[in-house]
């Protein structure tokens, strides 16, 4: 899988939606969404992919993410991270695994209502007809380029439908937060987490303290 970062000229019209189409799709909460959540497709190509082995092994511990979400997030991350995407493939794999674990933890803690909204958004992006309609992308997630992903994210961001802008905000916020909240991903950019002298002197960074709040 290659992640060329050059922005290819994706036609804007490719991603534009008519109001009628949007109503038909009924973004967030429609028959299509109900149908799609029952039509989960496990992607065998994911397992076959050498680079994603470690992401896959972490899957067992996911509290929210399903296999198809892992495929989706893995496909979108290079687009979200842009020029900060690591060049080294091993770094890409490790950082992707860490971001998946963070995204899973973060979404799981959003509370029931938000979890439901994210599930609807993911399902919308998994179900082929609705995915094509809202993103203009015909390829499967595992086959898209970052340029394609950036193209649809950008079209959502500038959409005249605030629902799509909101979906862009939710998706980019969660994925970007999952990446950039990890100091390992920002150390070379100037922020490497709390100062070492603090870590060395505070008790919470030393031996585990017994739980006492019962």
């Amino acid at each position: 899988m290659k992640f060329p970062l050059t922005q290819k000229g994706l036609k804007k019209s490719q991603n534009e939606l008519s109001r009628r189409q949007l109503i038909k799709t009924g973004l967030f909460g429609s028959v299509i969404l109900t149908v799609s959540s029952g039509a989960a497709v496990f992607s065998p190509s994911l397992l076959a992919d050498e680079k994603l082995r470690s992401a896959d092994s972490a899957r067992q511990s996911y509290q929210f993410l399903e296999d198809k979400d892992v495929t989706l997030i893995t496909a979108l991350l290079p687009a979200i991270i842009g020029s900060n995407w690591p060049e080294n493939t091993e770094h890409q794999t490790l950082a992707t695994s860490a971001a998946l674990i963070s995204a899973d933890q973060f979404i799981f803690r959003l509370g029931d209502f938000n979890k439901g909204e994210i599930r609807k958004l993911f399902d919308l992006l998994h179900f082929t007809p609705s995915r094509i309609l809202v993103t203009g992308i015909w390829a499967k997630w595992e086959d898209i380029t970052p340029a394609q992903a950036q193209g649809f994210l950008q079209s959502w961001k500038t959409s005249r439908f605030s629902l799509l802008t909101g979906a862009h905000n939710a998706l980019s916020d969660i994925l970007a937060f999952s990446w950039y909240s990890n100091p390992k991903n920002t150390a070379h950019l100037g922020y490497s987490g709390p100062p070492q002298f603090v870590v060395n002197s505070l008790p919470q960074f030393k031996t585990p303290i017994t739980e006492g709040d019962t």
């Binding site: 687009a79 979200i80 991270i81 842009g82 020029s83 900060n84 963070s102 933890q105 973060f106 799981f108 803690r109 959003l110 509370g111 029931d112 209502f113 938000n114 950036q150 994210l153 950008q154 961001k157 500038t158 605030s162 802008t165 909101g166 862009h168 905000n169 939710a170 980019s172 916020d173 969660i174 994925l175 970007a176 937060f177 999952s178 990446w179 950039y180 909240s181 990890n182 100091p183 991903n185 920002t186 950019l189 100037g190 922020y191 987490g193 709390p194 100062p195 603090v198 505070l202 008790p203 919470q204 960074f205 303290i209 006492g212 709040d213 019962t214």
Partner: protein, 529 residues
């Protein structure tokens, strides 16, 4: 280094996590207080000191120093409502509220102000709150300032804050040093992650330990679901037990019986409990007039290193524009600096790809300025309304109208002007359609042309106020000046939820002062009838 919470637990404080209780357990107390933030914890301290058997009920878990590891993901996802993703119903304004023992005081930035005199005068004239003049409140503010070690920050401000001061100075605008509630502060800058050194004098390390020392009990991981009424009194409160991490419900319910109830669940949570309870609301005031101090922001790239993630997050402010058109005219705004960490930038600014990569890569040189709009003082600023979603969880409808938009535009202009005056190389508004502007002239023109339709500007709020507003006239309020519910005899709301308008300053001391006053009055009433 000894930790006050760990020591208290070791010596036998009565702290129980709801997940350890049997389904349908009953707990009894003289006074049950819902919420452990500024309002609830202060009330608990005063009422337990007066000899009442107090029960504090908290939705979040008891997290304290051992848990505060200065990590963005961990802090954001465990200490805040909806893991910092709470938003107004149209998703336009991101809302940061604490959801942990100590409430928002555990995660606030320690900025301390007495309620402005102009605000209190407005309350007296518009809401009949003649007990809330500056002169009458001075006693309560002073009491809390001493108790919580509130004093001006004498350490030099970090670069993020000194840039704000420099901008104001060179334009001839007023600016001042912030008062902070800290004791032995290490000047690290991680206040919003839960203070790692216990220096912040939040409710977690002050009033809550005091109350627990006075024999109060604390029930954590318990969500107040609804009151049940008998006549015009609350007979009992029904709570849902959450799991031991306070992330999900367990299906177990807990009954709380008390002679008196105090609702201190914040300005979204407090109206929500009353709405779920079908509480009397004869004048349709419940949940209305909920205010946010809506915040917009500008980011500047400075020639020097700023490192906005280091040092006391807020130590300088400017009120140059707070009353720019009088108290009730065009909306005024307060200027402050905002700490900035990579994850927070990523989550707040709705950028992605190269644009976000560039923002993060230049973070060390970024000065982050914010403006807090003073909402609720003009008929064009009625605030928002707390409503319930189908699952009973609360949402806040907060429409953004032309009145607010003109305030955002004016404050973008002020922030950009101050940043260029302080020597910024480029300035941008935190807005979907803003570019990096290279001069004040360019910024001025561009800001006036910024589209301000739905979701274009990145907006947030860390100050939710109102929703159970107080006033002497039941037709325009939910509680009276004592915080007593107009229709329910044994229920007080003691909280920022009582404010009839926004404050016009970071509200923690306004809540502490109000709670100290109201809880003292309540103790007298419960003792002597």
């Amino acid at each position: 280094m000894s930790d006050i919470i760990q020591n208290g637990l070791d010596k036998g404080w009565k702290v129980t996590s709801a997940d350890t209780l049997e389904d349908k357990s009953t707990i009894e107390a003289d006074v049950a207080i819902i919420g452990t933030g500024a309002g609830g914890a202060t009330s608990a301290e005063f009422l337990s000191k007066a000899g009442f058997k107090v029960l504090l009920i908290e939705e979040g878990k008891l997290r304290y120093q051992k848990d505060f590891k200065m990590n963005e993901l961990e802090a954001f996802s465990t200490l805040y409502q909806e893991a910092t993703s709470r938003k107004t119903s149209d998703a336009a304004i991101n809302i940061y509220q604490g959801r942990t023992v100590g409430g928002s005081t555990t995660v606030n930035w320690t900025s301390t102000f007495r309620t402005p005199e102009k605000t209190l005068d407005f309350w007296a004239s518009e809401y009949g709150l003649s007990d809330y003049t500056s002169a009458k409140m001075a006693h309560w503010f002073k009491d809390r300032e001493q108790a919580l070690n509130m004093s001006p920050w004498l350490v030099p401000p970090n670069a993020n804050n000194s840039t704000l001061k420099q901008g104001c100075d060179s334009l001839g605008w007023s600016s001042h040093t912030m008062v902070r509630n800290v004791k032995g502060c290490w000047n690290l800058g991680y206040c919003g992650f839960g203070c790692p050194t216990n220096a912040k004098q939040s409710m977690l390390v002050t009033s809550i330990p005091s109350a627990l020392d006075n024999n109060a009990s604390l029930l954590t991981c318990a969500r107040a679901e609804r009151f049940h009424f008998k006549g015009d009194k609350v007979s009992h409160l029904e709570c849902q037990a959450l799991d031991s991490e306070a992330f999900e419900t367990t299906g177990k319910s807990i009954t709380v019986k008390a002679k008196h109830f105090v609702l201190s669940a914040g300005a979204i949570g407090s109206p929500a409990v009353l709405l779920r309870s079908d509480a009397p609301d004869p004048h349709n005031t419940l949940g209305k007039r909920t205010f946010l101090h809506p915040v917009n922001s500008c980011s500047a790239t400075m020639p020097n290193e700023i490192r906005p993630y280091e040092g006391a997050p807020q130590s300088v402010y400017s009120d140059q524009f707070l009353w720019r058109d009088g108290v009730a005219g065009e909306i005024g705004f307060k200027l402050e600096a905002s700490p900035a960490f990579p994850g927070g930038i990523a989550a707040q600014e709705a950028l992605f790809g190269d644009a976000l990569a560039k923002r993060i890569a230049s973070l060390a040189h970024t000065q982050s300025m914010i403006s807090l709009l003073r909402d609720g003082f003009n008929e064009e600023s009625p605030g928002g309304e707390v409503i319930l979603r189908s699952d009973g969880s609360p949402a806040l409808d907060y429409p953004i109208n032309e009145y607010l938009i003109s305030g955002f535009v004016q404050s973008y202009l002020a922030m950009a002007e101050a940043q260029f005056a302080a020597g910024a190389k480029t300035v941008t508004a935190v807005h979907h359609d803003a570019k990096d502007w290279k001069s004040w002239t360019e910024a001025k023109k561009a800001i006036k042309e910024l589209p301000m339709g739905p979701l274009r500007a990145a907006l947030f709020s860390a100050h939710v106020m109102g929703g159970c507003g107080m006033g002497s006239d039941p037709k325009q309020s939910v509680v009276n000046g004592h915080g007593e519910h107009h229709q329910i005899e044994n229920l007080n709301v003691i909280d920022g939820a009582c404010f009839p308008t926004s404050i016009g300053a970071n509200p923690q001391l306004s809540i502490y002062g109000l709670a100290a006053k109201q809880a003292t009055q309540l103790a007298t009433r419960l003792k002597f009838g």
